[in-house]
Assembly symmetry: C2
Homo-oligomer: 308 residues x 2
């Protein structure tokens, strides 16, 4: 049985960027038997069928999960509860139920009540994505060499955790197990807060009276445009992240603001050394990220504008 | 004389990213006679000579500006005053003195007292750069299709402004004339504030006790790494920007913080609509930036990690 696939039937609920990328990567892996998919949007289902994204596009979530040994929910967090209520009664014996969301404690709280004893809830979070959305946005290499964090509950079935680990490794990821609460704290600083302040500065810039919006756009190459890229991420998904990781985000935001106010004071009083020390310290962290293979050292600000 | 170069002798004081890119772009243009360069760093002068960056590497700034019809100061703002004191007595009749700094009002205040009546001070600011520094970082296409803002004083010599305009156009830039104070306000929001908050969040992340620095680095692909790229910019240059554009930066920072606190409140009270509305509004601005050719629409979060 060494050539049996890791997953016999994979069911993807939600065929946006993540769901469609999993479909591509799963096919590439050769480790998944058949892939069934469902999306609440008729348009997404139509596109998925048109581009042959999965082996079968189901007309209901319930239909998609029948007989699946792995079901992955790839929707914004807000949709999870009602989806769980619909599909959980139809999960087969031994099925693994997972997700890809950026918040993990709330997944356990929200889904556990629905999961039958014969199935295994093992939340997951691939740290990968782009600022684009929809079934056409996915691609097979999205997870290559990226981390995927699994947050199995304490009493989780070892074999199910092992299967899900091997599945994500087959998709190209490096897998890490972590406590859900700690995951939420780590992601609050590495992902949620960066998105929040990017959204915020773009909003601030849009509301100015002394600088026109067309000037903001025209001269955005000085740094601002990088924030707009992050602030172009999916609004529903991100609303749900902030509503469901409230505590950790507020904690990190409090620290950020405290530091910013002290920086503001340094600017007001002309304390150049305070500024210089911080700006030097942050350079070292950048170097570590490049050394860890988490970003490229190619100078990206010099990227070419769109030819037109 | 239609085939006379726009500039007969160009003198670049400071051979970092900007100075070296100007040298490359000026050569490419075929519109500049000879290029002389000086850098306060012996090491930079050595590298400039080694890579044949300019026609002649001078041993002093004073020597570099002799007979130059265009002198461009490409140093952090803090170095401008003492440089001006040194070179201004040696500017030739009709010479244009310019710079490339990100703050413009302070340039006029700091340099005007030194500029002789027979020379023309016309500050400039190419909105282009990368997060890298030094004489090896420059490249000829840096200014292509980018804006270069000139902020001539009210009484500026029209012909000198015209010459400097044609020079930057020959380097590939689109040139815009602007009042210095307005420039500083525009750049405060499109460049200075983005850098400040990027530096700040990287500092906040480095100081956490509940999340380790190695976790921050490991899971930085969720948004944080984009901020570290901006926060890797030159510390001296950026210290000087904040010290010399204090008023405009504090104004923009005040608005940013006000907006952020109100967002914080929306998260605390679970006001999903407030979040969703902002996150939708910011998407539209991103689209405008792409439409204006100021960034590419290629999904950049999916960029490949360094192969190693």
């Amino acid at each position: 049985m060494s050539d049996a696939p890791i997953i016999r039937k994979l069911s993807l609920i939600g065929l946006g960027l993540l769901g469609s990328s999993i479909a591509h990567a799963a096919r590439r892996s050769g480790q998944v038997g058949t892939i069934h998919g469902f999306d609440a949007s008729t348009e997404h289902r139509r596109i998925a069928a048109e581009i042959n994204l999965v082996d079968q596009v189901a007309q209901t979530a319930r239909e998609a999960v029948a007989d699946a040994d792995l079901v992955i929910l790839c929707t914004p967090h807000g949709a999870l509860k009602s989806l769980a209520a619909e599909i959980c009664p139809h999960l087969m014996q031994g099925a693994i139920l997972s997700d890809v969301g950026s918040v993990k404690s709330a997944v356990v709280t929200d889904l556990s009540p629905f999961v039958p004893a014969h199935a295994h809830l093992i939340p997951g979070h691939p740290i990968a994505g782009t600022e684009q959305s929809g079934p056409r946005a996915g691609f097979a290499t999205l997870f290559d060499n990226r981390w995927c964090i699994l947050t199995p509950p304490e009493n989780a079935d070892k074999q199910a955790v092992d299967t899900l680990t091997r599945f994500w490794q087959a998709l190209g990821s490096n897998v890490e197990l972590m406590d859900a609460r700690h995951h939420d704290l780590v992601l609050a600083i590495t992902s949620h807060l960066p998105h929040l302040i990017a959204y915020n500065i773009v909003g601030t810039a849009a509301d100015l009276e002394t600088v026109t919006q067309s000037e903001v756009i025209k001269y955005s190459a000085g740094g601002f445009r990088d924030f707009t890229r992050i602030a172009a991420s999916d609004p529903t998904m991100w609303r749900d992240v902030f509503l469901n990781n409230r505590e950790a985000v507020l904690e990190m935001l409090g620290r950020f603001t405290e530091d910013l106010i002290s920086l503001q004071r340094a600017i007001r009083w002309g304390e150049g050394d305070t500024l210089f020390d911080l700006f030097t310290r942050t350079r070292a962290i950048r170097r570590s990220i490049i050394d860890a293979g988490q970003d490229s050292s190619a100078p990206d600000f010099g990227r070419r504008p769109k030819a037109d």
